[in-house]
Symmetry: C2
Subunit: 198 residues, 2 copies
Amino acid sequence: MISGTNDKIRYVAFKLFLEKGYEATNVRDICKEVGIKASSLYFYYQSKQELFFSIYDEVWNDKIRFLESIEELRQDISPDIKLITLFKKTVEYCSNDLAKQKFLLRYHLFPPQEIIKILREKYKFWTDKESGIVSDIIQECVDKKVLRCSRSTTDYIKDYIKFINFHITEMIISNIKISSNEIYSLWFSFWNSNLLKQ
Amino acid sequence: MISGTNDKIRYVAFKLFLEKGYEATNVRDICKEVGIKASSLYFYYQSKQELFFSIYDEVWNDKIRFLESIEELRQDISPDIKLITLFKKTVEYCSNDLAKQKFLLRYHLFPPQEIIKILREKYKFWTDKESGIVSDIIQECVDKKVLRCSRSTTDYIKDYIKFINFHITEMIISNIKISSNEIYSLWFSFWNSNLLKQ
DNA sequence: GTCTATAAGAGGATAGAC
DNA sequence: GTCTATCCTCTTATAGAC
């Protein structure tokens, strides 16, 4: 899977950006682990910052493409089933690669001042995409009166995304994966108390 | 409240260590905001590292001293009331100074490699103190058969602390304070489903 | 593509004057 | 206590050889 200098650079850089953080990770350390001299990295990337954002975008892109590729969401099934499917698949996806989610959490919670502006733009770009996916299903729920529209569609979307992120964060921090059984019990508790309440 | 050079140094350093992180915060920046030259800081602290740990310990010490000072925990009342009181008071304390809790979360989740060893020791020292406080009450619950001892005391302690930290983390990340009403509903849901389950 | 060499600057920390 | 001056190291990034 990891072949070629560029792949190695990206692999090592991701690891160090996650563990040590952007500022504390230096080009020499990355290159030392890759097995090249620091100057060689500049053949692949114009700067440390470009390398970072290339990785940051890839992590987000992988996640969004996964969400968009969930077949159930395009099938003609009840939209509330779509909501729980999206929750289940998201938790499973994140469980399989907690490091990537921890990476996203790190740079969301503690953005380096040096790159904070671009980071916020990119964060908005990607979370907007995420919202779009959720938005379509929630809208379907409202249209088909599965959700009774006592609250605004926007509120439903926010609550749903907050619910998912909350449990992903829990997994990252406690480093314990949520089991399939738990997914359903968490979902029904959320569905009953938050989405259906008047 | 903030008078004297040392207080100013600690105030500014805390702010920058929280926002920019340990590595990205440099002595010159701290001193510039304080209004002194970098060399003057070394009159108060031997190193940047010493300054950091002095602040880190103070944040923890304030929290532990607050927990130890809760009167209800020393009174002769039912131990399950003590548990909910400790939860309520902790949430209130953290609500009043989310920045300090975010500081602790930052260095727990993403410890700088340069100081990781000392950080882990100190973290263990302070969380052991925290466990001690909880431990006393849980033991009282088990002794008085308020908790039915279907699980080990250690498990009860872990679950209780995890429960509290989970909600503090939620407040930090969502930046929304938990209301008094919510505290009780969260508590009873936790009490019934986690502590009393067989 | 990868190297050596090096520029240009930022960082932690110290010496010693006042 | 606070300053100026300075040391030494680390860092990003570039120039140009191979």
